[in-house]
Structure formats: structure tokens, C-alpha cells
């Protein structure tokens, strides 16, 4: 078996998270010889989808000798995401999926609703995020006059053209802030809140005061609007059987283009020459006898867990995975939804996200819902209290899984010095736009050029005969 491993690869990839699998797929399509390794016996790394037994065992919240997962229907019907995210239907990940034809292996469904909370505690209102002028006029989130202002704002966003200063409302786009734009339209604080956090999807208010930052925020709002317009109900889509399907799809793409895949394989040592990584020593387990091997590569890329001394912690995510037997209250009985609680509504600096999916997406048996509440930790204790505003929205909870704060890692160096290119941990954001930013960033670092996804499929010969 060991003789099937080549002496040298162009790239060795460590970890089968989504970022790594997209890069493997793209590099393989571009003709690079890829060896892709994971220490686990499954794909997906930190971003896998797991069944209920695995989840109980991961969090350890059950009594020894009991098997509580057996009360919840067929085990294989559960595909619970460890990292909750949705795809923007006009977003970057969707474009990559289409341009690589990975859509052939996956089926997607709309997420039924996108909601935002105004106020807190017993006075909280949960309402649909308005996505066009007509919805703005019907929205309970605003008073009569504010609705008109919001309508004007949304219409202006649609007409805005960065190149045409006549559409800039007399503002200097190179220096004005998004706050200046909101003020131009006279929008009130609660409206700014849901625009910035539930449409532009910023996680904090830092974006408000960035000089020259308005065009980016406008772009984000347009992405939201375009994504809603694509299928109608919400800007989000979600793959049947859970997010764990995404890395598997890109791994298959890589394999089809010659990528070699090894699970159950531990990296024993990174081999360096003159300060540059040139290969690995590794052991594949789960086979008799264990297979030790050594191979070389021009570069190595991987997730932070494979390079503990080359990454730093930049924050912590708090996350609670909850099993429900009902939809989230006040979301029109949605089979799935995103509920965003903007930070200022509940006296925080970071938003709280609640993502919910159900049997409609083949992630659990009928009559169950999975709701994941997450935010960035702002304290060093009382993490339950930080998530409480989100948990409060769920109604009765059958089972709750919450572990210690999850560190978010970033690479210390960009990899050009030692040929080791490391991805970032998945952040707390509600969608994959930051993940695809990281993919582009890593690609730029290792290939020295921009990743162009348009036209990638032209290089793909699909042997299809009908």
C-alpha cells in the first residue's frame, strides 16, 4: 500500500475542513498533485456534521452506561453541524460550487426565513428582515415615517454605482463613513442596527466609523438583497444532509483530478530543510499493520490544529447546540431560519446568532429542529449568560450541548518564509463569506496570484454521455 504514495507531491494538505477541501479541489483542477490527509476517520475536521451519539460523546453530557441518543429516532438520520453557517445564495461559496461543478454532488434547499430581534427580554420583537422597499413598508420593525426613510434608503442602495458620483447623494465615497450615509437618510438607531447586522451582516459596530467604508457596507447590503431575490424566501441556502457535505464534495472534486486521500493518518513530523518545510513523516492507522511513510512536497497547507506552534488565539466562540421539538417561536413556523440579535439590542459588543434547521434539510428525524446559538465571548466566565438572550428565544429545549469556549486561531506568519500555509478557524459569522475570503487569501499567498473561479469549469472535462 505504501508504494502507492508518491515520493513527492506539489502540495500536502492537512485537515479536511471546508477551507482545505476547497483549496485541494481548486489546486487539483489546476493540475497540481495533491496529497490530502486527516487524522480523523471522517471528513470535515472542525466543521463536520455528526450524529447524536457522536455529539453526546463529544460533550460528555450523559451518565456512564446510558445511551440517551436512542430516544431520538434513527441515529443515521442526524447530521448535526458543529459549526453553524449558511450559504448566501449569491455569495462567493455558491459561485465556487457552480464554477467547479461540485453542485453535481449536492442538493440545496432554501432557508425559510431571515429574522432579526429588536429590544430584549420580555419586550423583544422578532420580525422578518425586510429585503426590498415593499417589505420595508410592511415591516413591524419601524414606525410610519421611518418606513418611508427605509424605503428611500433601499431604493438608493439598488441604484448606487460607485463609478457614478451622481448616485452618491453628494457624499464623498472615498472618505465618508457608513454612519454618514445612514445620517443622510435620517435613519434611526434601531434601523441602522438591523441594516448593519441583519443585512450587511457585520458582527460588531466597528464598520460604522471606518472612513471610506461606506461602499463596502453598501456592497454587503446588496449581496443580501441579491441573495434574497435569487430564490425568494431568505438570502440563505443550505445543503441537504448538513454542512459536512461541502468538504466531501470538494474532496471528491480533488480526487477526480488525481488528489490522493488518506483519513486516519497522523502527521508524526514536519520535515524542514533550510527553514523551509519540504515534507512529512506520517502514520496511517486503522489498517493492519499501521503504515508509516515519508513523502516530500513543495508546500504544505492545513488547518491550525496541525501547526500548534505557528498559530495564535485571536478570540473565542461560544456555542450551544440545542435539540428542539418545535420551530423557533415567532418565526412563522419556519422549518429553518437565521435569527440575528444585534449586539446593541442586548447590551453586547458582538451579535448573537441563532441558526435553525430541521428534517426539511435531512439533518434530523421528522418533528425535530436543531438550533445553534453562538456569539464571540466577551467575558472569561458566565458564558451561559452571554448566550442567554439567544437561548431564551428557543422555547422548550430537549437537549443542550455546550462546551468550553472554542478558541479561534490565526496563523502568525503568512507562509511565504517556511512554505507552510495555515487557514483560520471558522469564525462566529452566520455565513461562509469569511471562509471564502480565507480561501482566496491562502491561494494568493501560495500561488502568488489571485484565484479566479470564473471559468474554472472550462478546464473540467466531465465525461457525460446521454
Amino acid at each position: 500500500m505504501a508504494d502507492e504514495i508518491a515520493k513527492e507531491y506539489d502540495v500536502i494538505v492537512l485537515g479536511t475542513g471546508l477551507t482545505e477541501c476547497i483549496l485541494s479541489g481548486v489546486l487539483s483542477v489546476k493540475g497540481k498533485k495533491v496529497l490530502h490527509i486527516d487524522r480523523n476517520d471522517h471528513y470535515g475536521g472542525e466543521a463536520a456534521s455528526v450524529n447524536l451519539e457522536t455529539l453526546y460523546k463529544k460533550y460528555g453530557n450523559y451518565a456512564q452506561g446510558t445511551e440517551p441518543w436512542k430516544e431520538y429516532g434513527r441515529l443515521n438520520d442526524w447530521n448535526i453541524d458543529l459549526v453553524p453557517k449558511f450559504l448566501m445564495s449569491s455569495g462567493e461559496l455558491t459561485k465556487i460550487l457552480v464554477s467547479t461543478d461540485v453542485t453535481r454532488y449536492l442538493e440545496f434547499k432554501q432557508v425559510a426565513g431571515s429574522f432579526v430581534q429588536q429590544g430584549s427580554g420580555s419586550k423583544a420583537t422578532v420580525a422578518k428582515v425586510p429585503s426590498d422597499a415593499a417589505e420595508a413598508l410592511r415591516s413591524p420593525l419601524m414606525g410610519l415615517f421611518e418606513k418611508r426613510r427605509m424605503k428611500n434608503f433601499i431604493e438608493w442602495i439598488g441604484q448606487f454605482d460607485i463609478k457614478d458620483s451622481a448616485t452618491h447623494k453628494g457624499l464623498d465615497m472615498s472618505s465618508c463613513t457608513m454612519k454618514d450615509v445612514y445620517d443622510k437618510f435620517g435613519l434611526e438607531a434601531p434601523t441602522k442596527d438591523f441594516i448593519g447586522h441583519a443585512m450587511a451582516l457585520y458582527q460588531t459596530d466597528a464598520y460604522l466609523d471606518v472612513p471610506g467604508g461606506a461602499p463596502e457596507a453598501i456592497e454587503h447590503i446588496r449581496l443580501y438583497g441579491n441573495s434574497v431575490a435569487r430564490y425568494g424566501k431568505s438570502p440563505y441556502i443550505y445543503p441537504l444532509y448538513g454542512l459536512g457535505e461541502l468538504p466531501q464534495g470538494f474532496a471528491r472534486l480533488s480526487a477526480i483530478y488525481g488528489g490522493t486521500y488518506m483519513l486516519n493518518t497522523n502527521v508524526d513530523e514536519l520535515v524542514y530543510e533550510n527553514g523551509k518545510a519540504v515534507g512529512i513523516k506520517a502514520t496511517m492507522t486503522g489498517v493492519e499493520p499501521e503504515m508509516k511513510f515519508e513523502t516530500r512536497a513543495k508546500m504544505i497547507l492545513g488547518d491550525p490544529s496541525y501547526f500548534p506552534d505557528k498559530v495564535k488565539v485571536v478570540g473565542h466562540v461560544l456555542r450551544a447546540i440545542c435539540i428542539l421539538k418545535h420551530p423557533i417561536p415567532n418565526t412563522s413556523d419556519s422549518d429553518s431560519c437565521q435569527l440575528i440579535i444585534p449586539q446593541s439590542q442586548v447590551g453586547r459588543k458582538n451579535d448573537i446568532y441563532v441558526a435553525s434547521v430541521s428534517s426539511a434539510h435531512n439533518v434530523c428525524p421528522k418533528n425535530y429542529w436543531i438550533a445553534i446559538v453562538s456569539t464571540i465571548a466577551e467575558t472569561s466566565a458566565n458564558h451561559h449568560l452571554e448566550l442567554a438572550p439567544g437561548i431564551e428565544r428557543l422555547g422548550k429545549i430537549e437537549e443542550q450541548f455546550m462546551g468550553p469556549p472554542i478558541p479561534i486561531y490565526e496563523p502568525i506568519e503568512d507562509g511565504t518564509k517556511d512554505n507552510i500555509f495555515i487557514s483560520k478557524s471558522y469564525d462566529a459569522s452566520s455565513h461562509f463569506e469569511s471562509t471564502t475570503d480565507d480561501v482566496r487569501d491562502i491561494y494568493r499567498r501560495l500561488a502568488g496570484e489571485e484565484l479566479v473561479v470564473e471559468g474554472l469549469r472550462e478546464g473540467i472535462q466531465v465525461t457525460s454521455e446521454e
Binding site: 500500500m1 460550487l97 453535481r104 442538493e107 440545496f108 474532496a251 486521500y261 472535462q461 457525460s464 454521455e465
Partner: protein, 234 residues
Amino acid sequence: MADSGNAPKPSSSVKLVLLGEAAVGKSSLVLRFVNNDFQENKEPTIGAAFLTQKCNLPTRTIKFEIWDTAGQERFASLAPMYYRNAQAALVVYDLTKPTSLVKAKHWVAELQRQASPGIVIALVGNKLDLTNDEAGSGGDGESPGVDGEGDARKVTTDEAKTYADEEGLLFFETSAKTGYNVTEVFTAIANAIPETSLKTARGPGAAHAAARSEEQRVNLNGARDQNAKDGCAC
């Protein structure tokens, strides 16, 4: 036969997965079935994402979506996605190589564990052209001298057939090289798929995706694929 069909027959997509040891001829069988072609000394599979081929039955048309392992079976790294919703599987061994049957039995067990309960599995002994059996006579399976002249058979028909019967598998011996029995395998699979488990075409290109409970499904490829894939003549 001649149902002079103006009314189109119902058409269903069936996901079929290929399994078996490396170099037993999985891709060659499919190439023979799809393109009626055979390549000597074919390189290990690269770049074949997904082959499709229609199989016309008297009352309906089955469109096979054939998934190749893409080599991911080599180090036991096939993803669950591969088995997901597979309605049929072709488990291939090389009848000149006994270890490949052992491996085939492993894959059958894996399918019984991971795949949908109703999956139709066909066990296929390939490379019949390397044996003394007269391809076409079906062979009696009791080839005498294993090392006999020109006969490289090392797995008897009886041995494999008995195993297939025990596990409830369809069983065929084929030659991708001569084409012997290849279409028969796929036709038998098509016939064995229960009517009830058939749904209308899925995935991109599915113009009339079944109405029930499918209303929120989205086709990311949008209009482009509709043009490219629909209405392709067989």
C-alpha cells in the same frame, strides 16, 4: 417492443456507485456500457466525475448516474456522500485474482452498513476474456487447470455465485474488453430496482423535480444547465 411511443415513457434517475479493488476494471465496465468502448492499459481513473447512461426498459426509462470512486477507496477514505441515496451498486472483482473477491465481500458488507436499505447490489466478476470460458457460452465455472494454458481464472463461478445468492446479490461474469454480459448487468439492475423507490430526475437538469415537499429545492446552476442538459437525445 414497438410501443411506437409518442407518449414518452416515465423516466427516473438512479444513482449507481462503483466499488471494488483497484484495477479490477470498474471504469472499463462503465466505459463499455456508456460509450461501448474499451481502452487497453487504461490509466487509473482521473477526471471522470460522473457518467450518465440511459437504459430503456419496456415500461420506463432508467437514467443511471454512475459514480466512480475517483480512487478514494484506496486508503479507505470514501466519503459518506458516496453511498448517500445510492439506489444501486456495482461491486466488481477480477476473476483472475482471489484477493479481489475478498475485497468485494468487504465492500458488500460496507454497503449493507452504510447505504440505503433498499439498495440493489450486483456482484460482477470481470476479465472473463482471460479465462478459457467461451465468452457467450456462460462457462461452467469448473475450469480445471488454474494454471492451464491461457486460463487465468482463479475464482470459480460457483464460489462467487454461492456467495451472491447468500447475500441476495445479482451476479454476473463479464468482460469489459469484449463487452460480454456488460449491458446485461445494467439491464438486470434497472429491472431489479423497485418501482416504489424511483423518483423523478434529481439534481441539476431536473426540469420537473417532483412536486411534493421539493418546493424549496434550488438549482444553483440556474438556466445554463437547463439548456445544456435537457432534451439530449439518447
